[in-house]
Symmetry: D2
Subunit: 243 residues, 4 copies
């Protein structure tokens, strides 16, 4: 399984705390804890300031699961790159959208809604698993303490998830649907709320476990190449005539 | 629309605070605020200690929506009555299960799961609406303060709801899927978490509004009388031959 | 309830059979059988070749439910009009997409998928109701004969419907998910497959019944005006301090 | 992964064609093609006429995925065995219900509906995949020819599936939701329609592939042992006090 971790990579350039928490940037740390999932296959990273955002057609064509972290520069991702990612999801590529990626062009494009939510600065977060039978929840307890995290709150304007796996509680008085899946085309999408750039959530072992599980779940099971109008099913008469 | 409010009615006999909050019992108060929904039709109440639990075949056959509140005596509802209610849901009757009714025989029968949850005594509850486009949410704000209520917490062992409409936040550190719908047979079911017998939730105008909306939503749109193996669809050849 | 029926209106100009079947155009006939739903409110029609496609901001702002029929000229609908409709769905407006509208810009925009399907020319269609408890199925039998209709077949590349209400059988060997709902933002969407321009489906009483039901179901229950980042929920401390 | 294939095993005793098609019985053939899935673990079979239906507590406790084929003797399965299977599903065991098992006690118990459907004798069946991104569809084409099979038709009285993966077309004029999943407790359930005892569907390579996939999908990801009221989540105050 080939995994590509995309990170906007801008906060790393201006906020020292980000690279203190995440040496080499968020993408480097995420790629690092995903090594056990790739099992010898490619784990690559890509960032906004690379040519073509690091997401050339070749890179995407050889990516099974793409992770996406973005925040302050969603608008700087060219529409052409967004369509390239969109097409790959239609073809079967898995997509895992992290934290503030909820307002990325690609997530909004796939959801068909505004994807807006309420938020406030750091409070304290606890996560609950509401679908323990789901592969993304494998080995995850029914609830666990995440600790300090940016607060996201409902109403989160997303399509009703195909599966709601995690909900979150915040000390300041909010709930949030924090782990959600959708099927789109031949691809699968997982949105996961933790991961503000100045908080240590990506160093939390249960968060790492969940993202590892999500990569395995999101890997393609079938792929589609052709997007022209699909060939008609032969009629029964045609089938019988051909025998 | 004929509505029947079923209440176990036992706490009312031993805890003075219940009838102080709810004169005449929970069923009387609930029936009272549902009058605008019935619009001249029957609103009846029924309790555990009446003959046949107040749910004779005649009563059920003329009920469009049944509300269910039970807590300490779930096991005393005879299986025969449970099957009678179950059959009516299959036929199209709406069912609204309130608060501790989550462990009632009829709810577990319709869900096919244990319906267990975590709980603790009163803390403070705030509700969020996560599906504002649903008719049960009509006129309900995106969030509102419920106040003191018994704490229910995940993991709530229910089938994934067809629609998750409300989630709740509790001061002591819990979230809960507090307003959920399911389709079963020709009937519709709404589970709604507020309503501990010693708390004033049923006097809260937004809670009343939600339960009123739920009755309108749960009313039958089609009904089924026959439970034997349904007649086969005529084959096209039969249809053509008959013309 | 104000209803607007949008029709591309091009086939009417070149294929005599269309206006023979549907005098005044598809929009005129659809608007006509929706009169009982509007109950004295506005029923308007709009077509592609009117200024702004007939969908001025004023028209959309006063529309509760929009119906959409398009086929050969999806690309001629300006993106600006598509965004206008999209914004209205986010705000709460209901949208009913008919037949070949599955490839309209607005439907693809709201689904986040290609919305492609298999098709062949006219065969014979029979519809089945798989969710008889849904308000859109009110008064609709468990199966009924539609007759000659253009054949649509799976795989239909849509997000898993929130509710699958109708499935269809075609004589030539195909099945199709022919009646589907989704929630998007504050709005509700119903896709319904029958209605090729040279077939009489919109004159079929059960099809008319279903579209009438769908209008009632899709009407807004709540509306949203503001799309900036929503105001944060007050923290409990703030609430307590304010009392 | 330990797999147990349960088969009623009665038709095999009276209809020669069954054992001609399926030497050793349906259970033997199904167990045979599941060997690649178990990868060295136990594959066992169990039938109605064995003591305790072959489903002793020990057998069930060591079963990860149970397959169920029954038809003429659903009522002869003792309620005690049904509850034993039910409890194991709540604990996490996967359950795959085949063909006429739709009326088995255990399936109805888990669904909470009548699970009735329309049917007629053999016609010709074609299957469509409507969720190609699902692991149960891995390697399965968008449509394939099943051939002669007993006809099942809507309305199939089941809860709306969590995932609808396959739909079927029958020559005589019917559609059917033929591959459906549900989550119940910690367990996962797959219903799959093909497999009448006198038809060769279980010898069809794509059918075998789907059932193999379903076993992998249904295997437990987490398990639950305790069914008493779960321990409360510690409050934040308790957590902070303990540090």
């Amino acid at each position: 399984m080939n995994i590509t971790v995309w990170n906007e990579g801008r906060h790393e350039k201006s906020i020292p705390r980000v690279t203190q928490l995440y040496p080499g940037g968020l993408h480097a740390v995420i790629a690092s804890f995903l090594k056990p999932v790739a099992e010898g296959s490619l784990i690559r990273t890509a960032t906004l300031d690379e040519p073509e955002c690091g997401l050339t057609q070749d890179v995407l064509d050889s990516t099974d699961v793409l992770l996406w972290w973005g925040h302050m520069a969603h608008d700087e991702v060219p529409d052409e790159i967004v369509e390239r990612v969109y097409t790959r999801v239609m073809q079967g590529m898995g997509l895992i959208v992290l934290h503030s990626g909820h307002l990325s062009k690609i997530f909004c494009r796939l959801m068909g809604t505004t994807c807006r939510l309420r938020w406030r600065d750091d409070t304290y977060e606890r996560m609950f698993c509401v679908m323990p039978s789901h592969p993304i929840a494998q080995g995850v307890p029914e609830h666990f303490e995440l600790g300090v995290e940016e607060t996201y709150a409902e109403f989160f304007d997303i399509p009703q998830p195909d599966e709601l796996i995690f909900t979150s509680w915040f000390d300041s008085g909010e709930t949030f649907r924090s782990g959600c899946t959708w099927h789109r085309g031949y691809g699968k999408i997982f949105y996961f709320q933790p991961g503000h750039e100045t908080n240590p959530s990506f160093n939390h072992p249960t968060i790492q476990k969940i993202i590892q599980n999500a990569c395995r779940w999101a890997a393609p099971v079938n792929t589609r190449q052709d997007f022209s109008c699909p060939q008609m099913v032969p009629s029964l008469e045609e089938i019988r005539a051909s025998k």
